[in-house]
């Protein structure tokens, strides 16, 4: 009996070990085949924060061979979460954008490099000397898709007027610079004048966002609140079917004014787990998996499925500028000096999906000036300790860092905890879901509970999207300026840069702003993160633009699938 029991114990231990090893074994066996597969496509070079005037090369998928273009097939794309309302005036998340982008059209669209906007429904525009009116010429050959209330009607200037004014009036989020945009004047069927209450440099780039897409009045008014489930527009695909939490089916629009899509349709599938998304690409059930994270990126790389482009974003940690130890600029400088930022970035982003940053602005912005990289203090532990002592904290202090509960933020927080411990600062990390994080940090500068917070910020490369949101007094109650930065002179300069319409003049003013805010040590702006897609080796011409938009058919690409 005793002998049998000992035998059973051994067998049990053996079974446990075997089952544990099976888990490891599977992931290693993938590495073997990786080096032989062709790359999924040209991978964009991550931004070099020390190189001026660089352009973003969007990554493009090339499939496996130089096969001839084949027509037909359905492109299956997976997303992490279900879109809620496909209404340009109501949407709130990226998932909605991906679907809407293919159904509706805006006056302009961003080019492949996400640097300039190119004509789409508009053909060209001119802006008046005083910046108060934009004359926009429209295409003459655009038709709406068939909906319940509109049947292939031609799009005219009236529709542009309706859509832009609707966005201004009804959208809860500001999609059209509503405090500066006044109204649309219809000159003819193919010309409008957009009138401003005061000049706004970034306004014209807003017309490349889906928030200002042109929609037919009959459908909006006919469906009312339900319009978001029955989107009708002028784009290359029509909305066929929405099955919540499951899929969204789009069919090719045969009356599209632009390039005819090669694919018959698009199917957006909702797959919440990154690993499952890659599995589905491996088996061919899905053609493109968006939003890969963590190990899924390595797996995609090994299997030759990875497409990667740097995002137009900045990942950072910012300090409470009004209360607590971080209210003292010397303390902030010391905290920044205590971190070996290069090492931290390579530690967090082990698969090349993040590169070193210095400034609170994307390196792809036309206003980015590499001179200011030097304003970030070098790694110097002794210097940091000395500064802290000078500031009155020779024995250090305790502080908190609030982050969302994602792998990248948690890794960053742990590294900061380590570096700051070296100078005597004890860091408490508070993680939560994004909704709770936002609730905790908004207006946190008014007390000393939140000493710092970390997050990522994405915007189009116009510096207004970064600097105004980070350093303007107007956003002091928003999550983008939870540190509480407020300075009259900076506000004046920001308004000035905002109202100018010429790039060179705006850059001069932004230079002044950047020099001041960087000398204030408002935070550690440490990384540029990448967008990562897994793309099947049958897909050609998929472009991973910096904003990770699912662009299927456009002036610069037209996805096709090998048979």
């Amino acid at each position: 009996m005793m002998r049998e029991k000992k035998l059973m114990a051994l067998v049990l231990a053996g079974l446990m070990t075997v089952s544990a090893l099976t888990g490891c074994g599977n992931s290693e066996s993938n590495n073997g085949g990786g080096s032989e597969k062709a790359a999924a496509g040209t991978t964009a070079v991550s931004p070099d924060a020390n190189a001026a005037g660089q352009t973003l090369d969007a990554a493009i998928s090339i499939g496996q061979t130089d096969a001839k273009v084949t027509e037909g097939g359905t492109l299956v794309v997976s997303m992490l979460s279900s879109p809620r309302s496909l209404d340009p005036a109501v949407y709130t998340t990226m998932y909605e954008l991906h679907v809407m982008y293919n159904i509706v059209g805006s006056l302009f669209i961003w080019d492949k490099e996400y640097k300039e906007f190119i004509p789409n429904l508009a053909t060209d525009y001119t802006v008046s000397e005083d910046g108060l009116s934009y004359t926009v010429n429209l295409r003459d050959d655009v038709y709406f898709q068939d909906g319940k209330y509109v049947k292939g009607r031609k799009m005219t200037a009236e529709d542009v007027k309706y859509s832009l004014e609707r966005s201004k009036a009804e959208s809860a989020t500001d999609r059209v610079c509503r405090d500066f945009f006044d109204y649309v004047e219809v000159v003819s069927d193919t010309q409008v004048i957009l009138h401003m209450t005061s000049p706004a440099g970034p306004f014209i780039s807003r017309l490349a966002e889906i928030g200002t897409a042109i929609v037919p009045r009959e459908e909006v008014e006919g469906w009312g609140e339900d319009f978001g489930n029955h989107l009708v527009g002028t784009g290359p695909f029509t909305l066929e079917e929405v099955v919540t939490d499951e899929k969204i089916v789009l069919n090719r629009n045969e009356n599209y004014w632009g390039t005819k899509p090669h694919v018959d349709g698009i199917e957006f599938r909702i797959i919440a787990d990154s690993n499952q998304a890659i599995n589905a690409v491996s088996t061919g059930e899905v053609d493109i998996a968006m939003y890969l994270q963590g190990e899924a990126i390595k797996r995609a790389q090994d299997e030759g499925l990875l497409l990667q482009t740097s995002a137009s974003s900045i990942t950072y940690v910012r300090y409470n500028l009004h209360h607590g130890p971080t209210a003292d600029p010397k303390v902030r400088q010391a905290l920044t000096m205590a971190v070996d930022i290069d090492a931290m970035v390579s530690g967090i982003y082990q698969y090349g999906e993040g590169t070193r940053a210095y400034q609170p602005l994307t390196a792809y912005s036309w206003a980015y000036n590499t001179d200011f990289n030097a304003l970030v203090p070098a790694y110097d532990v002794e210097g940091a300790k000395a500064l802290l002592a000078e500031a009155g904290y020779p024995d250090g202090f305790t502080m908190t860092l609030y982050i969302g509960s994602t792998t990248y933020r948690e890794k960053m927080a742990q590294m900061l905890q380590y570096y700051w411990a070296e100078i005597g600062v004890t860091l408490y990390i508070r993680t939560s879901t994004m909704a709770e994080w936002t609730a905790s940090i908004t207006d946190s500068w008014q007390a000393d509970v939140v000493n710092s917070y970390g997050v990522s910020w994405n915007e189009s490369p116009d510096p207004y999207g970064f600097l105004d949101r980070f350093f303007g007094t107007a956003t002091i109650h928003a999550s983008s300026n939870a540190g509480g930065y407020s300075d009259e002179e900076i506000d004046r300069l920001l308004s000035q840069a905002f109202s100018l319409t010429g790039r060179e003049e705006r850059t001069k003013v932004y230079d002044e702003i950047m020099e001041t805010v960087m000398s204030d040590y408002t935070g550690i702006y440490y990384a540029y993160e990448c967008r990562n897609w897994a793309v099947s080796d049958k897909v050609h011409d998929a472009v991973l633009r910096a904003d990770s938009q699912m662009v299927v058919t456009s002036p610069f690409n037209n996805i096709w699938i090998e048979n």
Partner: protein, 316 residues
Amino acid sequence: MVKMIVKRFLQTIPTLFIVVTITFCLTRMLPGDPAVAILGIEARQEDVEAMRIKMNLDKPLPEQYKSYLAGLATGDFGYSYSYRQNVFPLIASRVPNTLNLTMAALFFALLTGGVVGIVAALCQNTLFDYIFMVLALIGVSMPIFWLALMLVLQFSVKMNLLPVMGMGDMSKGLGDVLRHMILPGFCLATIPMATFARTIRSGMIDTLSSDYVRCLRARGIKKWKVVMIHCLKNSLPPLVTVLGLQIANTFTGAIITEGIFSWPGMGTMINTAINNRDYSLIQGTVLFSAIMFVFCNMLVDIAYMMLNPKVRAGKG
């Protein structure tokens, strides 16, 4: 007996009432603003306020509670802002998907668990018995998340036998739906399977060693008849109890499995509801789950009564 059934049914009402109240309070205690969850964090303050009024969130809590109860009484479970539909039809559309998966999983679990349990009991203390009980232990302890991903890696990615995720399409035939059901069904079945095996095994061991079995064998009744007819029937009561609990548990616990396999059932809906602070939907699904639990418990009690004459005759 009918009187007892009616009495059990009436007893469920105060339970459900308490569940509704506790859920109501708990959802209101969640940090995060539902209006902001719907409109986005960049929304204007005025629009957030207007949304709150539309959602009746500006009224004092007791008043919100009263209007919710009044709605329930008339069959109105509220409106889901994250799905833009009324809660009741929304839940009703998702329940069949989860029920299909759960019932298939439980059927499979009962069959395999039952057979394994009976055989293990008959071969008590042999190698077969030990091996299968250890496997049962592993089945209960293994995290479904890990098991699901391992199975997908093996059967879908490497061997290309089964689909990675999704529910399949009836228009492509029943075979397509069944193929999609195999992996998630199996994952969901592991815990019930193990539980059923162990329960039947102990029940059978108990009955197999009782006096009347020896009597039956002495009278010359064949062994398989003794086992399958007499012993099995008498070891059913604990199994029925466990089955009732497992039905409710599996149904409400399918969240993880549904999430991994993108199975469009209650699980994904509950996740979305919580992330969006969709109070009406959260309350609706919790209430529905409570009703399921209570109903299953009631069925178990009734089945118990039918199986055990003592309970039928004795207590009232």
